[in-house]
Amino acid sequence: MNLVDMNIVDRRLKSIAEEMGIVLMKTSYSTIFNEGRDFTCGVADESCELLASADFQPAQVGGMPLVVSSIIKEIPLSEMDEGDVMIHNDPFRGGMHTPEHTLIKPVFFEGEFFGFSVAIGHIAEVGGMVPGGFPGEATEVYQEGLRVPPVKIQARGKDVEPVWKIMLANHRTPRQNHGDIRALISAVNRGESRILELIKEYGPERYREICTDLKDYAERRMRAEITSIPDGVYSFEDFMEDDGVTDQAYKIAVDVYVSQDKIVADFSRTDNQSLGPINAVLSVAWSATYNAILHLTDPQIPRNSGAFRPIKIVAPPGKLVNADFPAAEVGGNTETHIRICHTVVGALAQAIPERAFAPDGGTHSNFLFGATDERTGNYAVCYDFTGAGWGGRPVADGHNATNCINGNSRMNPVEVFETRFPWRFESLGLIPGSGGDGEYRGGLGVNKVLTCLSDDMEVSFMSDRQKIAPWGIGGGGEGQNGSVLIRRKSTPDFVTACEDSNKTSASKFNRIGFRKGDQISISSPGGGGYGDPQERSSEQRAKDRDEGWV
């Protein structure tokens, strides 16, 4: 084992993944890609294990090995050629949710197979019940957009035309999606050529050895971190407030077993899968659990499959955390992922409160709409989201207005949003007092009010945390719930979607029609508080009042 080569190859692999991401960012079309950075790139080895990933979207990292291995289950290696690119988004074949498309390109060095260059990107508009994805009232995966099983989108470097045709015929924004898929292909191409350079530099044998060592190294580091957690069984539970179709809360329960250098996260006590679209598929349960543990351990541990070896996840089929086909699942990776992740943190907080943190607002407030823009005559579709408050932690208050724990996207600027879409912002501000009280306060949520400028606007929504608030840790208070409210031009009051359009859920709904002058008010939740509020210093209290944080 050569330490220097390992360090160097680790950094090189990570750079390759980052470089792929830069290509995506610079060439893609959807704002969710290039502004939201809702994508992840990585390098996998020949056993489909992850060697490195770039730090873009935490929701996708942990699920990457499962996606890749499911692809080669259906397209065996013997049928893959140099220059092939596979595409895949099926959540019931290892994908994470319908919008997330995985592209992989096999890497052959002098004819020998060495693994894959992998890019996963969120393609916002994939057909289905509502423009922009995220039908909050879907009850089957068929309604959530086009499912693409593992197929070649390029064979030996040439487009497989029928696949492109079928896909784009089923999307509402074919031009944009064409650009995004091209960008994903450029990313895996770039990855492939950089991996080949690296193999050439070290020689095939040496490269394999180093990669094996690297996974073992990440495993050692993760085991060292887990060993420092006191042994025991730690349980925690939280809820998704409803599923958009029935007015029923769903419990996510975890029993985390820590034994020396191993962790088992057992979700067996979780409720059965839902009728509505909040189901998580297996790769989401993996990804969310890894996400929690990566947040509780040293952030410098390389994100390769070795780091995940000491962590086992028990998620019985038919549960909300491993839904059976053909359940609706589009909210699983966006909303339920956050809840799974913080539930695991909540359990481990009992063992290591000094490393834990209170939960964030727990929803991205996914706001989807489609409308004709009268200024251009074009039909515009958008997937917009709003940052929430983050939880307090033992070192500081929580962040204000920040993308939740499974994302790291940037919000749309008002000026870009109004230029592109037929809405006008009336206000955009933090919500004072929305962070849970505590020695370290939760961060604040955001409120925005928009007026519709189109007569054929259709709004859909996918969020949570309007009934069951983000909790506190160690005596910290709850964060304030969020809301989505509608006001018709002719009426004085803002009301929920239930009151306005007779919807079952105020947080998850499909296609509510808006006309010019109608308004929507979106409030994201605040973060939970950390520690006894009595312990908050008087200077901090004074600053809270002075700055209007409370």
Binding site: L3, Y29, F33, S427
Partner: protein, 698 residues
Amino acid sequence: MNGDLEKTQQPHTSAPSDHAAQGIVLGIDIGGTFTDYVAYDKDAKTATAWKYFSNAEDPAAGIFDGLKEYQQLDRIVKIRLGTTIATNAILERNGAVVGYIATKNFTDIPHIGRGDRKGIYDAFWVKPESLVNRKNCFGVSERISSEGDTLVDLDEAELRTIGRQIRERGDIEVIAVNFLFSYISPKHEQGAKEILEEEVPGIPVSISYDVLPKWKEFERSSTTIADAYVKPIVNDRLPKIIEKIGQLVPRADVAIMKSNGGETTVGLACQQPVQLLLSGPSGGVVATQHVSKANGFDRVMTFDMGGTSSDCAICIEGDVNLTTDFEVEWGLPVQIPMVDVRTIGAGGGSIAWVDNGGMLQVGPRSAGSMPGPACYGRGGTEATVTDANVILSRIDHNNFLGGKVALDLEAARSAIGVIGDQLGLSIEQTAKAIIDIANNNVASELRRMAVENGHDPRNFSLMGFGGAGPVHVADLMRLLNIKAGTVPVFPGQFSAFGFTCADARIDSQRTVQMRSGSLDFDRLNEVAASLRNTVTEEFSRQGYASGIEIKLYVDLRYEGQNYELSVPFGFDRFDQNNMEVLRNDFDTEFDEKYGFCLPGEPIEIVNLSVTGVVAQPKPDIEASLGETTSEPKTHREVWFEGGSVNAPIYDRTRLPVGVQIHGPAVIEEDVSTVPINAGQSVERQPSGVLVIKEFQEV
């Protein structure tokens, strides 16, 4: 203590000149520890460089003392000054109390930001705080639409009430104004400025349209607030420095370096001090530009390694690479055009350590300059990159900084030994491993910079400067597969040297968002004309009426994309035909950078950018070589790839021009050393620059 730590001349001093009328141009780069000086004598075609300790308490006094070291003050005709006043005010959070006035109901923009985080798994990361307190944010009724129409008139009475409130409170020192869509219609911001100047006389007002007339309200607010935040401190300190310089050099014209690598007057710098954030580092880029042009290097990556961090930049065909994505700290964007200098957290002081998986790591923690590397003998006990260089004898512990600073070899050995014991490696093996890892960390960042600009690093040459840059150049060439490396003259004072080469330069941008299907040529022509006027007017305030060269660029992308390419627009006016040429240029450039293009696709214009330059005379240093020899001054055991070699050591100032020295070898000068690997050669150019090359492979 004598501050004259080092004084180098390159080439050697020649006899006093006969035509003193031409005089001397002096560059002064005020840094945290040292202030660098480079004096270029136009008559003798020689340059002299020296360093003097900076005076943190009283910067003006520090410069005064440093200047007095120089014997020919009376011949100085021009001084260009780089200053860190603005940057330090932000980093140390000792700027002014800012009042922020925004469109009503949008006052929280600076505290909302964009909603992302610096990294994704660090739960304990704390976001840098905004430069404005939330209690000092005020909203006023007014609203412009995305088409530039007035939806709500500016409520003057309300604004006057805010103004009075500010005056009565008395704690706000400066005001920043940022209204939505002011980049399309600035009338409300301009009106507000007038009213505020009446209501709150004596308090400077920065409006976003003047500072950054571009879309994206958070980035514009951050830039405008930064300008306001540093204004009082710059207006207080900069004139004092100029006055002090004037006492010694009364007849010299003093100019200030801006972040775009151009000079400006003291008055204009005080008016818009946000332009000074990269004042110092811009010198390295300008110097690179000059050296690249003079030596015919087309594509250059630079690497300036100091104690705590390294700066890197790109220079293509002698053009400065500008960015509008600069952030002073994470989440504090300042988006005016600046030289694209990136800071890497790797320096001579980067600390080596062993993690809990048994892996050797280098950085990101640094011993900085205090206590510094163990070998400095100032109390540092942790192993650093510099210690490793000393162990490997790449840096001669007996001859550091020309022998003026004694290094403690034993302290270095014991620090590195602690790491070696954990790894089971010898001291020398450990030191070599530290250097390899540090080099790879730097190479990764250099590669990333090239890639983000759409380039392949292999097509570049690498220029190393700063105290430690030259030490690593030859190794980095190998890692990046780069065929040529260079070490310029004055590697230790390269920014100050750059100041002697600077032009007067103005870069300005404005957002004019349009789709290719619905282009408004009148609007484009109007904005282009107004940008050109801004440049001409500002030059005239700097005293330039002629020799102004203006270039227009259009920032374009395929409709829906988020990153633009800046494409030169060579015509006087926008019309259908010219747009087609522009369109083709865009497709071609996109293809070159990203490997595909979409000629039929609609495109989007986002910004117009203008660059105005008034060229200034450039240094033309003739190599007056004095006594040269191609014989090494000595030999010593130096570690290279594969082990220790009894390597020849050459004195850089005595190398003859045009003679190839083959590695393994070390070239030494007072401020730095350049190890050359086996298989590489180095040659001194007529301009004094060292060029390192890989041998032709047989």
